[in-house]
Symmetry: C2
Subunit: 372 residues, 2 copies
């Protein structure tokens, strides 16, 4: 992997770049659609590529490990072949899901013993086996196994957890370095900054992570319920410490506004389930503002959902489909929201390159956060 | 509407033809995918047209009447514009759904009073208002409002019901003739033969229907639980009475085998929810045989689901998606099954035209009914 910084904004810390992987080049800042179980919900791979123009997608190690299982992925020749997706993929480490979805049985220095949220079977994740799993999945970008602290989180717990996360990180890196890439493609490793909402812990973690000299760096443990201002504060603090010449990935963020604000703080990569999850409930992001398509006001509205992204279907039709729980409604709405997110980061990129990012951000936020 | 009979098979009563409508020509025999609420479940209109190559689709008057409601369709300029589908559409009359889905409150000569299965509201369908509704929906083919008898059904009830259905038919035709087509496109009316599984009633009904000289004729009340042989017997009896020069539509049928058998008895048009419903449960029709994709044997099978219809995705991936209840799984499986049905009727058409239908039918049935 190679990261070329193209341009840095004069009025903010926003920057553009390109991330060159063996499966293609990613233009940053970028948004990565989430394909938890190896499918971006409601969308097929052709739509993902051609309509949404996704450059990289994410899958969840925890989910893929449970179903279909790693042996299935291995025999398919990696996840790209398994799901028929040729562009880059990133896998999270499962840390977030282990702590949020499963019954945790025991957490110790060695790793985490937990029960599957599907069948209750007992499993044990360690930094080493999580790296091995991601190698076998065949992710282009592999994430460190960390503990993602909740919000709120006591200072003492956050500090203790950070120590564990850092010790696991050293083991992740060791394992990553002693193993070979799978499927004849380069795989890169990103460590994750933790530290909850405590400045000193975040600073300590960012320095520790920076010192590992990995190919890219991530910020985790944010967008877990804390106020947006607190998230921005932590993001800024961490970005200022992380090396400029490496891509920075803010995990699990966020709203369109969160994304633009964090781009201005120096973030290059984002992922979030919000566009697809909101879509399934009828909440749309459009180039003209926010739409709750279940609202009665759209009942007779035969205008396109969005002239740019979904010109083929009307608001009235989408309202009907969502109200009737038709899969097509969820699919159209997901295409709309993901297309919007991809458009937003691409526009941000263009505006940074043109040197007008800050003024554009103010204008576009007024427009796209309106409730229609 | 114009129906041109192209060829009649020498060894069976199978025939090919073309049904010319204001929205395009339909090659018969044809299968019509079912879009109950204005959407073929799990599939978008582009896939329906380009991948599945549907020539005509069906929508359900009862469902559309309840949601989104007729006023929405009217203000959209008809159902074709509402759902963005330019090819022909057929609407059933709602008779089947009124009798199968709703709490029937009262059935009398005038019509049926029933309660919506959605919100329990009280509604009244008559032959006249059902024709009006289908006019407003903008269907290219409008169906008679009938009583669809269940199976089993006592002879006396079937006879009494038939009298009602025939009296309603006269009123449907009267209303159809005194009203104008909507949205500047021709609309055609098809009456429906009933009579349960009783030969004399079926013969009486077929004669009555033939005497109305409508543009096409339908057979209802079959595939409701009776043995297949009984369905074939009734279909043959009715086909022999219905005029040769008009298209014959067998409602709600059926399996691939049912369809080929009924083509050989002289049926031109079919609809059924089986391909999409089975798909959602992981039962696939393929060019090589029947697949239950949930079966463990497919877990590591990286071959294409079907080289002809769904070459982009493997059996292992589809098994995973269906097992995880991912929408994409249901969508891929639905594309597979509908593509198969469309291929089957198209092949039947080719073989009739080539004069080898009967021998081909035997061979292909052996192949496609195998359990893989």
């Amino acid at each position: 992997m190679k990261f070329n910084l193209t341009k840095t904004d004069k009025n903010s810390k926003a920057r553009t770049g390109e991330l060159i992987t063996d499966r293609g080049t990613i233009q940053t800042p970028i948004f990565m659609p989430v394909g938890t179980q190896g499918s971006v919900k409601g969308i097929n791979q052709q739509e993902l590529s051609e309509k949404i123009k996704a450059q990289i997608i994410l899958a969840n190690t925890y989910h893929i490990y449970l179903r279909p299982g790693i042996e299935v992925i291995k025999q398919a020749g990696g996840i790209h072949k398994f799901i028929n997706w040729e562009k880059p993929m990133l896998t999270d480490s499962g840390g977030f899901q282990v702590f949020s979805l499963s019954d945790i049985r025991k957490i110790n220095d060695e790793g985490v013993e937990f029960r599957s949220h599907i069948d209750g079977s007992k499993l044990f994740f360690t930094p080493e086996n999580v790296i091995d799993t991601q190698r076998t999945i065949g992710a282009d970008i592999i994430m460190a196994f960390d503990e993602c602290t909740p919000f709120p989180c006591e200072y003492d717990y956050a500090k203790k957890s950070l120590t564990l996360t850092h010790s696991w990180l050293k083991r992740c890196i060791h394992r990553f370095n002693e193993t070979e890439p799978e499927y004849e493609k380069q795989q890169s490793f990103f460590p994750i900054v933790q530290g909850s909402v405590y400045k000193d812990l975040r600073a300590e973690s960012a320095k520790f992570i920076a010192d590992q000299h990995c190919e890219g760096n991530a910020i985790g443990g944010l967008s877990v319920g804390e106020p947006a201002e607190m998230m921005y504060e932590m993001t800024e603090l961490v970005c200022d410490i992380l090396p400029k010449e490496k891509p920075r990935y803010l995990m699990g963020v966020g709203t369109p506004e969160n994304i633009l604000e964090c781009i201005s703080l120096g973030i290059d990569m984002f992922d979030c389930v919000m566009p697809t999850r909101n879509a399934r409930h009828g909440f749309l992001f459009t180039s003209q503002g926010i739409i709750n398509i279940k609202n009665e006001k759209w009942k007779f509205d035969n205008s396109a959902i969005d002239e740019i992204f979904t010109p083929d279907y009307s608001k009235a039709y989408l309202k009907h489909l969502i109200k009737c729980n038709e899969m097509l409604g969820m699919s159209i709405a997901s295409i709309q929201n993901l297309s919007f997110y991809m458009w937003l980061v691409n526009e941000a990129r263009n505006k940074i390159n043109e040197g007008v990012f800050t003024s554009w951000k103010k204008e576009i936020l007024e427009k796209i956060t309106r409730r229609l």
